[in-house]
């Protein structure tokens, strides 16, 4: 049994520390793995894949069951969004959007679990730190946004051709003679995509979690008022953030397909 943190500062810090494993034990540098983020995200990703694969294998043209209806509803929802936004043929974008939405949603959903539930259980079995919401880890949000960014670059080059992409970076918006202004602008414009994508999701969920932690510091008899209010409001936020991440991914990828 590991000692529970005694004062509020410790409590908050404890809640914001990842369970990590470093190559260099003394100095936690870049070569560190946040085990809680990895495990929870893979677990939730696994749940998503399992549920959807289960429904997909049994999917027939006949009358669907409850799970199948639910899964089909999600698929149709994402498919319609992609069809409305993205005018082109791509086997990747719709499944990518679905994966992003479901994965981010499930990870955000962990925020609605009582803030001390899993960390206390972990402490009971000897795990000193545990952050159960993977989307409050910058590593995860950046991993997703950088992956999307790489796809955007790849699509830009493969659809438009390297030369057209280069011209787009250097010759817009002010024409070829002002390329020394255009190019930095374009770079900032492109780099702002993954940055804003990652930081928006991270910021919303991090702040949400922090507020849950602060609410947990209140006396027990008053917690239910701000707690329930924030939790109900948070249902909206976790859905919205998952949706925004997916929607912006679709938009960025469709922008990569169409020249300005």
């Amino acid at each position: 049994m590991i000692e529970a943190p005694s004062n509020p500062t410790q409590y908050i810090q404890h809640h914001l520390t990842n369970l990590s494993w470093s190559v260099d034990k003394a100095n936690a540098g870049f070569f560190t793995l946040n085990l809680d983020t990895l495990i929870y995200s893979i677990l939730l990703g696994g749940i998503f894949l399992f549920l959807f694969r289960f429904a997909a294998k049994r999917a027939t043209a006949g009358v669907p069951g409850k799970l199948q209806s639910c899964v089909e509803l999600m698929v149709m929802f994402v498919d319609n969004l992609v069809k409305e936004t993205f005018h082109g043929k791509s086997k990747l974008i719709a499944p990518l959007a679905l994966t992003i939405f479901m994965w981010v949603f499930l990870m955000n959903l962990m925020d609605l679990l009582p803030v001390d539930l899993l960390p206390s259980l972990g402490r009971a079995v000897g795990v000193p730190y545990m952050r159960v919401v993977p989307t409050t880890d910058l590593n995860l949000t950046f991993a997703m946004s950088i992956s999307v960014f790489i796809l955007v670059i790849v699509y830009n080059i493969s659809i438009k051709g390297p030369w057209a992409f280069f011209k787009e970076l250097t010759c817009t918006p002010f024409g070829p003679y002002l390329f020394f202004i255009n190019f930095p602008l374009a770079i900032v414009h492109e780099l702002s995509k993954p940055l804003s994508l990652a930081l928006r999701l991270f910021g919303n969920l991090y702040a949400g979690e922090l507020i849950f932690i602060l609410i947990a510091l209140l006396p027990w008899w008053i917690q239910w008022i701000p707690g329930s209010m924030w939790a109900i409001f948070h249902i909206l936020i976790i859905l919205l953030q998952a949706f925004i991440f997916m929607m912006l991914t679709i938009v960025y990828l469709s922008m990569a397909h169409e020249s300005h």
Binding site: F30, F48, A56, A59, D79, L96, L138, N139, S147
Partner: protein, 159 residues
């Protein structure tokens, strides 16, 4: 809070999730949805067709029923006409037969009367001849006086 190797791990995880979804989840569901859409569209079309068929059939039934009623009425009409005619014919036949029988009877009666009259004439003639013979005291040549007597008799009988 620092960025670290977790980033790479998550990127790998993310790629795997996306690839799995793309290969093993999306196509199956999309296919099932398309098939169901086609099935439902077919079903709706079939229902529409069935409804139209039913309407046509009902229309046809109405027509047939009307025709049948018309025919039945015609048949009844004809039958009653025929019956009337048969009755009329029978009446006429009976009338004729009756008339015929009456004529026959009349003829018979007439003949009977004529025969009776002839017999009577004959008898009277004989009696007259016999009477005259007695009166005259001799035999009368019947053949010679017959004409006279006959004339007499016809005068008597015509009175």
């Amino acid at each position: 809070m620092n960025l670290n190797l977790t980033l790479l791990g998550q990127m790998i995880t993310f790629s795997l999730l996306v690839i799995f979804t793309m290969k093993y989840i999306w196509p199956l569901i999309a296919k099932a949805l398309q098939e169901r859409e086609a099935t439902i569209a077919n079903g709706l079309a079939a229902a529409e067709r069935g409804r139209r068929d039913l309407e046509l059939a009902q229309h046809k039934v109405g027509e047939l029923l009307r025709d049948a009623k018309l025919q039945a009425a015609e048949i009844v009409d004809q039958a009653s006409k025929r019956a009337t005619r048969i009755v009329e014919d029978a009446k006429e036949q009976a009338h004729k037969e009756g008339n015929r029988l009456i004529h026959l009877a009349r003829d018979d009666i007439e003949q009977e009367r004529l025969r009776a009259k002839a017999d009577l004439q004959h008898d009277i003639t004989a009696m007259a001849v016999a009477g005259a013979a007695k009166i005259l005291g001799g035999r009368i040549d019947i053949s010679a006086n017959n004409d006279m007597i006959k004339q007499l008799l016809s005068e008597v009988s015509s009175e």
